[in-house]
């Protein structure tokens, strides 16, 4: 009787629905997660590509600047620039001393000690005195 009542009872199988629901959610979640991951992987890949392109550009610019420095600092270029008068030639024998380069050492003269002036005292060999 009790079995029949339970078998033919007009109740909603909540637990079963819950289980099915959970399975559906898990499957859908996993699928969506997979898609999200896939999208993320692709988006990251695109970002990597962008960064790689930027890196190549920067590397080329760097290389270009390096080449320019090498050309400008080469012996041949420096010689050409010197001939064009871009640098001033040093004449080591004729460099005059400028006013700013004069050094003055100020020596303070020791004043004669005046007896009885505040904290000043005559220095004597105190050990010998004892």
């Amino acid at each position: 009787m009790a079995d029949n009542r339970r078998r033919y009872a007009n109740t909603i199988p909540v637990v079963r629905f819950l289980i099915i629901g959970m399975i559906c959610i898990t499957v859908c979640g996993a699928g969506l997660g997979y898609l999200w991951c896939l999208h993320d992987v692709n988006a990251t890949g695109e970002k990597i590509k962008e960064r790689e392109v930027d890196l190549v550009k920067l590397r080329n610019r760097n290389e270009g600047f390096r080449t320019s420095i090498e050309i400008l600092s080469s012996a041949a270029q420096l010689e050409t620039d010197l001939k064009k008068g871009k640098f001033k030639k040093f004449n080591l024998e004729r460099i005059g001393v400028l006013d700013q380069q004069h050094l003055a050492t100020v020596v303070k003269m020791a004043l004669p000690q005046q007896p009885g002036r505040g904290d000043l005292r005559t220095v004597v060999n105190e050990v010998k005195r004892k």
Partner: protein, 604 residues
């Protein structure tokens, strides 16, 4: 059911069954049997192997100054099949790149038969210009972007691509051109260090397996196997650029003064054999090598041979002293200036000279007598011992051996001609290597041009330590020869002009008349001076060789043409190397003729 209908159904069923069986069979064939083939076709369409190009290493001098490097450039490429307005694009590119517009337009519209598409098509890869500067390329791109800004998507100018590339540059231009060499359009070394060290400089290309979408965009997440490119190593030379500049400047003044056929200067560290400077004239600019003749590209220091003349007397004297058949003070009869047996002349008549004075006065008869005492076999052994008649082994391509005849080919008077540098042919490199052996206590070293090869981080991949070939003469004999060579540059010797104020110089002049059609001609000579400084502790050995200077016969001699150049280079080199003078400068030396003394006060 009607029989006819049943029959139709059966036929249709069988037909469908046959069709589906056929399709299934085909599917099986494609999917199973031909799986690999179609997989490969698919791969070919979407997967490619991208080559990651390695960059060529730099060449540096001993102070890490860059002598050869790479400049990033772009190749301008056009896919003509994608160009809708060829005239407009041709005009734009022609203006930016200074090209002929009509010629460019013709390239864009030229059609050829495509066997794949089975029709006439425009080229998909037109190289407009290679090695375009980055700034120019950016300018073109900006112009294209500006033009496309006002156009609809379907009407945009497309088909222009910029391929990243690198161009080899030599920042110093002509300086050291024969040593550095040059590369071809594929960046492969063709001469000089660029060629001999190509395998170190070139590096190894890498690769990356990538997949592309239908539109050709790379799918980064589907990247396959990858091997990074390994860039070429940096080659550090033994050359010192400051010394090289001095040598080049002085060589320029020689060319301006004497307008010779050619000239060569080599400076070497006698202790290590390291070449400190090397220059030839004529020279060329490796950055602009189009139309440069082959003869100008030749490194005369190693690829040409000359009769060394009197500089070869050093070999004869060293051999005679080493064999102990004479000492420096042994008298040598000099036949009063003419040895009739072999028809040999001296510039000045001497009855007798000591061995030392034979070298000081550069007596042809004196050295001929010394070689005769030595004998053919021993003399020949010493010639080879000093490195003549064989390649020195310097790491530069195109070195020749020079010419030393085997004893069997000698004439009866060869033993009197060879001691004074006739009937022998040597490269300038062999001459300077031989004198370096005297400066180095009799030890012959292999000339070295490369110190080491380093990777990008500066770690040494391979180093090239000094190489001793052999001890040619004893250290004591080397000292005795040096003593005589010092006298050569003294006021009583033949090379007074080689003196350097404050330093003791040892060296020997050489003047060799040139052979033309088997006869020596009087008006063409090779003037040379080879020596080392300071004589007591040599910092460098130096050879100055001037071929056919435009000077009168009596002035076209080593002592007047090459010795002053040696003096000027040595003086400046001593200053550059920070050598401390060992001698007091007793009297002022005439270094230049002053045209006008004092100032003209009449002028405002």
């Amino acid at each position: 059911m009607n029989r006819a209908i049943r029959k139709r159904i059966l036929v249709t069923g069988i037909t469908l069954a046959v069709c589906f069986t056929g399709l299934s069979a085909r599917l099986l064939y494609v999917q199973v049997s031909q799986h690999e083939h179609y997989l490969e076709l698919g791969r070919r369409k979407h997967e490619t192997r991208k080559i990651l190009t390695s960059s060529r290493g730099s060449i540096l001098d001993s102070t890490d100054q860059v002598l050869a490097s790479n400049e990033p450039v772009k190749d301008v490429i056009v896919d003509a099949s994608n160009v809708k307005e060829p005239e407009l694009l041709a005009g734009l590119l022609a203006d930016a790149l200074n090209l002929d517009k009509a010629e460019l337009h013709a390239k864009f519209v030229k059609e050829s038969y495509d066997p794949k598409l089975k029709k006439m098509t425009r080229s998909r890869y037109v190289v407009v210009q290679k090695n375009v500067n980055e700034t120019v390329a950016s300018g073109i791109l900006a112009k294209l972007t500006a033009l496309n800004r006002d156009r609809r998507d379907w009407n945009q100018i497309r088909g222009v691509a910029f391929e990243q590339s690198a161009r080899r540059i030599w920042p110093n231009g002509e300086l050291l051109c024969h040593v550095l060499g040059y590369v071809n359009s594929a960046n492969f070394g063709m001469d000089g260090i660029e060629r001999s060290f190509n395998r170190y400089l070139q590096g190894t290309n890498g690769f990356r397996d990538i997949e592309r979408t239908r539109t050709g965009v790379e799918i980064v997440s589907y990247r396959g196997e990858e091997r990074a490119a390994s860039n070429g190593g940096n080659v550090r030379l033994t050359i010192n650029m400051r010394l090289q500049t001095i040598v080049e400047e002085e060589l320029n003044s020689v060319v301006a003064r004497y307008r010779p056929k050619s000239a060569t200067v080599i400076m070497m560290d006698p202790k290590t054999g390291g070449i400190l400077a090397m220059a030839n004239r004529p020279n060329f600019n490796p950055n602009k090598q189009k139309g440069v003749e082959e003869s100008v590209r030749l490194n005369l220091a190693i690829a040409t041979q000359v009769e060394p003349g009197s500089t070869f007397k050093i070999v004869t004297m060293a051999a005679a002293l080493n064999e102990r058949i004479v000492s420096l003070t042994t008298p040598v009869p000099c036949e009063n200036g003419y040895w009739s047996w072999c028809k040999l002349h001296d510039h000045h008549a001497y009855a007798s000279l000591t061995v030392k004075n034979v070298l000081v006065h550069s007596s042809n008869i004196g050295v001929a007598k010394l070689a005769s005492k030595l004998g053919e076999q021993k003399f020949s052994d010493y010639i080879y011992g000093f490195g003549f008649g064989q390649r020195t082994g310097v790491a530069l391509p195109g070195e020749i051996k020079g010419e030393i005849h085997p004893i069997s080919d000698w004439t009866p008077i060869s033993i009197t001609r060879m001691p004074m540098g006739h009937e022998v042919a040597a490269t300038p490199m062999q001459i300077v290597t031989a004198i370096s052996a005297i400066a180095n206590g009799g030890k012959l070293m292999t000339p070295q041009i490369v110190q080491d090869v380093t990777d990008e981080s500066g770690n040494v991949k391979e180093s090239f330590p000094p190489l001793l070939v052999r001890q040619v003469v004893s250290a004591q004999v080397a000292r005795l020869v040096t003593e005589a060579l010092i006298e050569v540059t003294s006021p009583k010797g033949t090379a007074k002009a080689a003196q350097v104020p404050g330093f003791v110089v040892a060296g020997k002049t050489g003047t060799a008349q040139k052979l033309e059609n088997g006869r020596y001609v009087n008006d063409k000579s090779v003037c040379s001076f080879v020596g080392f400084m300071p004589a007591e502790a040599p910092a460098f050995a130096l050879l100055v060789l001037v071929d056919e200077p435009r000077e009168t016969r009596h002035k076209a001699v080593g002592g007047l043409v090459a010795a002053p150049v040696f003096s000027r280079i040595s003086e400046r080199a001593a200053h550059s190397l920070g050598l401390a003078p060992t001698e007091s400068i007793k009297s002022p030396m005439i270094v230049a003729k002053v045209e006008k003394v004092g100032r003209d006060f009449r002028r405002p």
